[in-house]
Symmetry: D2
Subunit: 142 residues, 4 copies
């Protein structure tokens, strides 16, 4: 079982589609794509930190959304832009001043809607720092 | 009925607590605080845009979170840092390339938990672009 | 501005569509429908209570879902069955052993998706006991 | 690694705490509890059906909530009643007219908050029909 787009193809598409993702220098890195899944890494960078050295909520939310989007894109191909309709986050533990990894898994990939979850871990740790679910509307094929 | 902190006091606290909010230049502006409420504006800025000129999801999520946080802060005072435990977003319409305004309202302000909703509008429009709800854990008083 | 179905038409449709709603005797009552809105009442009944006399979470969740569904149905007409894709609840205060009223408002009524919120109050009270948001997928017209 | 309460102890506690769970005859059955987990089954029963033979949303929501509650109870013991503060559901596929099984896993079990997810499957199937996340407030020890 393979994906509709390879890892390099998905990265190229994302870089074109989300240039602001790495507006201040590269930070979000798609590491792998697979059947109904993707893995994305967020570098440790001062601009994502809050006082106390913990990574900001918005940086975690962006990472989860991008990882889910990448999983959809890799699996349906560049047929049209999926639109995020719902995102829901449970923040579980404060990550330290490290990078983060998001493991995105699609729970459903229908013709009109895709639903997935993303689990965010601090780099090199098994502690879940954030759990996210997202729903994406897939445009009709033209 | 007044708030525990005035608008200038809340702004000063936020600027100290969230310096990364305006890391690339001022963008998030707290406009008002009131009983169980706050209003925050996000400037139009290229770094929040996606192709097509629409404002990115992460920028909207950050705005909603900051506005809810400001409403809590203004209403409980600087007694301790509330921690976001849950955020949930419904993205309703694509905003154009304009600024955004978030109207945050607290639905519950308990001793341990605060729950609120934020409604995001494009500047100068009545069209709701995003509806958010958030839950915040309030630390025990020391 | 009127609705696609009147109150009696919407009630008749719901009774056919959700017979299990009132499986153990009438309990859920649609009180009004309007542009992008509906109001539904849940009777006080022993089978919805938890120890301590508070109304059970599942009864509140059912009420919110039915009220949102009724708002959609009244506004789009009986063109097809909307399917609940996401429901999210914040439980704010324990209601006492009374009936409940749900005020449902649609935030978006698109061709493919409807999104709404429901506010649940104890009968005769202004205290919000639960806030819900729901997303519904609207089938393509045949 | 064991749980604070055994399976029979947890069942006895639930039956006392949620008598309305099985108000119309036994339907919800706790099958197992483990470290940070629980598994609950919902019998196939006419009163949970919608036209077309699919299981109603409220029955699925109740099952997810009970399963998460059971996981918390088994793991913290009968020290106090956890209160549901947030529940969020993604409905993925329509289950047929069968029973359901919920696999609940706690993502965090803190002193004040527990967060978990529940995955609902049709009996004898690997198809996920619903994914739920829940947050529970744990009362201070007396």
């Amino acid at each position: 079982m393979t994906t509709a787009m390879s890892l390099p193809e998905t990265i190229a598409f994302l870089e074109r589609d989300f240039p602001q993702m790495n507006h201040d220098g590269p930070a979000f890195h798609l590491e792998s794509v697979g059947p109904l899944s993707a893995r994305m890494r967020l570098d440790h960078h001062e601009r994502f930190l809050r006082p106390g050295g913990t990574i900001s909520g918005p940086a975690m939310m962006a990472l989860a959304d991008y990882a889910l989007y990448a999983a959809i894109l890799a699996n349906i191909g560049p047929v049209g832009l999926a639109v995020t309709t719902n995102l829901s986050f449970n923040f579980l533990r404060k990550p330290g001043p490290t990078g983060l990894v998001a493991e995105a898994t699609l729970l459903k990939l229908g013709k009109r809607l895709a639903v997935g979850e993303a689990r965010l871990f601090a780099t090199g740790s098994d502690d879940l720092v954030c759990h996210a679910t997202g729903t994406y509307s897939i445009p009709p094929e033209r």
